[in-house]
Amino acid sequence: MMVTRVDAIGDACPIPVVKTKNAIKELHGAGTVETLVDNEIAVQNLTKMANQKGYAVKSQKLSDDRFQVTMEISEKAGLSEASQAEPGNALGQEPQECLVAPGARKKNIVVAVTAPVMGTGNDELGAVLIKGFLYALTQQDELPSTILFYNGGATLTCEGSASIEDLKSLEALGVEILTCGTCLNYYKLSDHLQVGGVTNMYEIAEKLTRADLVIRP
């Protein structure tokens, strides 16, 4: 079985974890990764990762500022890590810098909801469709970064909307939910907003122009 040693002496968190994760990926299967660190907090962070990932883990204090964390990776776990290509991973670069590297990132998807219905035709059907659409969004692997609600769409984030629960789940998953403040005023809904924040036209324009993809259901 392969044993890989990772030297993370002098590295601040999260570098020891990042280096170890990469070593595990390089195993392409079963193996052992031994990581050397110089502080106990790094040992604890590595141990947390191993526990979450289900790797057998033990640690040993070699001296006051030398600790060794050993992880045993099973065949299955190792292969699954190796198969997860991460193009955005920057381990090859100097890790201390925080220049905003333009590497591969998650796409910035913005959903613009402009009406209380989806599509044109029958509005009763449209209302069912938009509810279904917002629910289906919660189930997507790739979530939008922001959902904008304006004009008639503003009613969907307010009291009486059938989508409040779905929008709350999306918010909990990290999706930003924003409703146009002018629209809330116009429809006299300002006191009835149930989910997300209030936004203005400047921010709406900014979100839409900066998006990689705008979805208008």
Partner: protein, 350 residues
Amino acid sequence: MKRGLEMSSEKIVFCKGGGCTAKLGAQALNRVLSLLPKGDPDPDLLVGYSSKDDAAVYRLTDEIAFVQTLDFFPPMVQDPYLFGQIAAANALSDIYAMGGTVKTALNIVCFPEKWDLNILGEILRGGSEKVLEAGGSLAGGHSIADSDVKYGLSVTGVVHPDHIWANNTGRPGDRLILTKALGVGILCTADRVGEAPADGMAAAIRSMTTLNKTAAECCHAYEIHACTDVTGFSFLGHLHEMMDGRLSCRIFADQIPVLPGAMACADEFLLTAAAQRNRNHVGNYVRFDDIPFAMEEVLFDPQTSGGLLVAAAPGDADSLLKDLRGRGLPAAMVGEILAREDQEIQVLYH
């Protein structure tokens, strides 16, 4: 602001992972502070460091007390101007957390002698803009040549001695309201290794540069029993201080506002040392009921320029929340205070 960051052949590393993740652990700090000579207590020192509050408060007259605070740290973002804004917003926040109004501020800065002074100029420009936005005056400062950059402010404000918002005077039944989303520590750490999503980092910067001024102004119109700002000791660390050994609380994990991308970065274990120190310090006071790992990490995540955590009277909480959200803040009602139970802090889905 990448211009000015490259100097001859020498590479300038502006950001090494700072902000409130650079704070000393509470455990280590408490040990040192407990050994300091205290002297005779001054009855006009209303809040000193015996109370672990956000700032010191000293009564001058029955009508007026001054609030004093100092906060500075190394850069957590690469842009010096944004760093200045964030460091200042963070320092000013302590005045708001005590219920005070900002009056004057002094710069405190460490800067390498050989570096381009334009970088320093950008930092100070960001800071002074925030002091102005707070309605205060920049009144001076002090600078030191050092190997690394550090910047912050000593801020003085005023407050009525009877209307100080202490952090430990909450009451059972109070609703807990948080005025900013969590996760800036995780996102800045992920950004340091190039793995933070762009939208998450943008949201973190927007959050960190937002003053707690509006949030505090909203709160002044309602019955508030306690207030603190969430910074380096994390949401749970500051909540633990708020419980003061005599209260308990329930926290609703599904209500916690989280910055986009922070949970995903936590699931990739892009974790700070400070978060683990926070876990070691307060983890024993917390029970998690089926809470995902990433949410636990968010709750222990050190915040730079975090939001206010407010204990609002139950009758006022709904209106306050509506008011905060109406002003565009991502505020949420995240829990409620209970009379003391065996378990100090319980985190659950409700």
